[in-house]
């Protein structure tokens, strides 16, 4: 049973995001963001849109990585929103060593950074690379696959908002079917992005047999922190794919970013899981399953499925994708009882004997 620092049983309360409040948790288990010693790796003053999921995700990822590496970390960034909104010369929002080179080469640059650090005998410094879905699954994919294949010592984080949002919302290989983008417009007999295309990079990463692959969303930030922390405890190529809603591109309210991300997982449309050496080791079970329609309805990019006439056929095809995810990953498993073992977050267990901030595992 989890106890407070005074030995009292923890009475958990839940906030809207299902995160467990920090106040009553053992200090060692508190979130990175709750601590005053957090790195503020991506600090305030940047120019991201209101409600930007990528800014939120990057902040949590890098602060967790900074804590895990005790500040011994450098970052490599692909071109994209994250790079543009954070570093308009002469300003920068990065409080970590940060290098941006090109759109399609972040994994290869990270490979070189890791090789350079090794050659210089700086084995204590770790490398985190990051990019959007365009930079990761499309233009940078060859470099990413090369990095995986060589098992270069890099944690690569993809912030997936399902399109080229920085250039004005065009389709990428991660844009879901039926979604409206400026290059898959809501016109014609099959409005929006076509079915039967797109790349599932977490699974492709697993096929490279890399030590660690995980997906996460900005709806479950403790889970995201825990996965970053675990990834940072490993060496070799690690891949983290984070779903980050984009209010501009998705046509969602800025205040709904976390809610939309949660519906993506609760509907099964975006599976949240972990894999080691190509084998799924843990999944985040759906707690309150919702039809995919609830996820779609909040998003302007799917508005054409509801008006001028309702497209039940298309909604059913999207539901089928969610159903397949649920089956493939076993997302509909039982929800853990909260009062079991030392709890890091609702429905999750800290591994027995694990260090503070260590990985969280679903039961």
């Amino acid at each position: 049973m989890a106890t407070t620092s005074l030995g009292m049983p923890v009475k958990f309360y839940q906030v809207g995001s299902f995160a467990v409040g920090n106040r009553l948790v053992d200090p060692a288990l508190r979130s990175v963001q709750s601590g005053q010693e957090r790195a503020n790796a991506l600090t305030s003053g940047h120019r991201a849109c209101q409600g930007c999921g990528e800014a939120l995700g990057a902040r949590y990822v890098l602060d967790a990585a900074m804590r895990a590496s005790q500040g011994r970390m450098v970052t490599v960034n692909a071109t994209g929103c994250l790079e543009v909104f954070s570093t308009p010369y002469p300003e920068t929002s990065w409080r970590v060593a940060w290098l941006h080179s090109l759109f399609g080469n972040a994994p290869a640059v990270a490979t070189g950074v890791a090789a350079g650090l090794r050659a210089l005998g700086r084995d204590d410094v770790t490398v985190v690379a990051q990019g959007g879905d365009g930079g990761t699954v499309d233009i940078g994919f060859g470099a990413l696959s090369g990095m995986f294949e060589r098992n270069d010592d890099v944690l690569y984080v993809c912030y997936d908002n399902g399109g080229y949002m920085n250039t004005g919302i065009q389709r990428s290989g991660a844009t879901p079917p039926a979604a409206r983008t400026m290059t898959t417009q809501a016109v014609g007999a099959e409005p929006g992005n076509v079915f039967g295309q797109g790349k599932d990079v977490p699974r492709i990463a697993m096929a490279h047999d890399v030590p660690y692959v995980a997906t996460a969303t900005v709806a479950d930030l403790r889970d995201l922190e825990a996965k970053v922390t675990h990834a940072m405890s490993l060496r070799g190529s690690r891949y983290l794919h984070v779903l980050v809603p984009c209010p501009l591109g998705w046509g969602t309210a800025s205040s709904d970013t976390v809610k939309v991300a949660r519906l993506a997982t609760e509907s099964g449309f975006f599976p949240v899981f972990e894999a080691e050496h190509g084998v799924v080791t843990a999944v985040r079970h759906i707690r309150h399953r919702v039809p995919v329609e609830e996820y779609l309805r909040l998003q302007g990019r799917y508005a054409h499925l509801f008006r001028p006439e309702r497209r039940d056929d298309v909604i059913a095809r999207l539901q089928a994708i969610a159903d397949r995810n649920i089956e493939r990953y076993g997302l509909a498993g039982p929800v853990a009882a909260l009062e079991v073992g030392p709890v890091g977050r609702a429905g999750a267990l800290i591994e027995e004997g694990a260090a503070p901030g260590a990985r969280v595992r679903e039961v």
């Binding site: 080179s101 950074v113 050659a119 060859g142 470099a143």
Partner: protein, 392 residues
């Protein structure tokens, strides 16, 4: 010590003597022998402290050395032709960020039609990429230029391309005095980067720069290139003092004194050209040659001085600006503005076609007689082109 060695191996060993810390490379002919030899040395433990990374493309090769150079590791790669073009986006990135990477380009034609043989079309296409470009006349100079290139690159914080003719030099075995580690250590200090990616002093490298400062950034890059016009000859002089032989510099005049006609060229053709100049001189023809080592930066003043006494200049090009003609010729023309020196362009040796002493002798004869038109394609098979033109 002189050794009988293939050009690629001479370069590989010269690079190794410079103690590179990261080498990222991807195979492409005719460059491959260089990185094969370096990878062997790394694997055999002959190059301690060096990481060799087998990457999946030339774009990744250049991107990898961007990363390694940014953390302060001396970084090297090599490529040719299509490989150079595949890394173009990264090339501009390197020069924009002022990363002192050294790269060998084993000069090779660009397709289509696919052609693995030598010309300068690949590096000439990167004329404006912001890299310094030094052209080797022979394998001794190719080896020596790499040692100088690291000095120049790291002193100015600019990238340097050492260009050597594919096959003609890379695969030719001749006697080369390969610089050894001890001598290079005395000449080339350890790499101290101007800016470094370091968790102890975190900086943001590669920020977005808008209209308010972009011109200034480009201007400073321009100034660094101009500074190279001073640094290149100084480093060549210091090299001569350390190693007891002359290599590099901006250009090499050959028997230009009293020459009415001077042929300007780059790369391995200079050996052939000097033989032809000797033969012509022995017959009383007042001809000389200027070998251009530094094409970027272009040494306008040195070229004007070297050509000052000539009445006529032939720029012998191993590349072609389609629809225009010469590439080097345009810069030579700028250097000669106001001098009244006549200038013509001869495009030769494309896609590996040999440039023979006979053809050069005939070319010089025509030039002296004033019979060379503004643009000539040496040894062009007129029957073939006329037939094809007739079909259109």
């Amino acid at each position: 010590m002189l050794q009988q060695v293939e050009g690629s191996k001479a370069v590989a060993r010269a690079v190794a003597a410079c103690r590179p810390q990261v080498v990222c490379a991807y195979p492409i002919s005719p460059q491959t022998h260089i990185v094969e030899e370096i990878s062997r040395m790394v694997k055999a433990g002959e190059l301690p402290g060096c990481e060799y990374v087998n990457v999946e493309s030339e774009f990744a090769a250049m991107s990898g050395v961007i990363g390694s150079c940014a953390v302060g590791a001396r970084s090297y790669t090599a490529t040719a032709s299509q490989g150079l073009l595949f890394m173009v986006e990264a090339l501009y990135n390197v020069s924009g960020m002022g990363l002192p990477i050294v790269m060998t380009v084993a000069n090779r034609a660009i397709g289509a039609p696919i052609n693995i043989w030598n010309d300068h079309g690949d590096t000439m296409s990167q004329r404006d990429s912001g890299w310094l470009q030094l052209y080797a006349a022979d394998n001794q100079e190719a080896a020596d230029l790499h040692v100088q290139a690291f000095r120049i690159a790291e002193e100015l914080s600019v990238p340097v391309m050492v260009c050597m003719d594919g096959f003609v030099l890379t695969h030719a075995t001749e006697a080369v005095d390969v610089p050894d580690v001890g001598s290079v250590d005395a000449f080339l200090p350890p790499f101290v980067p101007r800016q470094v990616l370091d968790p102890d002093a975190p900086v943001s490298i590669g920020a977005m720069v808008g209209p308010e400062a972009f011109t200034e950034v480009r201007y400073l890059a321009h100034r660094r290139q101009l500074d190279a016009l001073t640094v290149i000859p100084r480093v060549a002089n210091e090299f001569a003092q350390h190693f007891g032989r002359t290599s590099g510099g901006l250009l090499h005049p050959y028997r230009t004194e009293g020459a009415d006609l001077v042929v300007v060229a780059l790369g391995s053709v200079l050996g052939t050209l000097q033989d032809v100049v000797d033969a012509q001189r022995s017959q009383g023809v007042a001809v000389g040659a200027v070998g251009l080592t530094s094409f970027r930066p272009f040494p306008y003043d040195a070229v004007r001085t070297a050509l000052a006494g000539a009445h006529r200049v032939v720029v012998l090009e191993r590349a072609l600006a389609v629809g225009v003609g010469g590439i080097v010729a345009a810069d030579v023309r700028t250097a000669l503005v106001g001098t009244g020196v006549e200038q013509v362009t001869v495009v030769a040796g494309l896609g590996g076609r040999p440039i023979t002493t006979a053809s050069l002798g005939a070319m010089i004869g025509d030039a002296v007689a004033g019979r060379l038109p503004e643009l000539t394609f040496l040894d062009l098979d007129h029957a073939v082109v006329d037939r094809e033109l007739g079909r259109i």
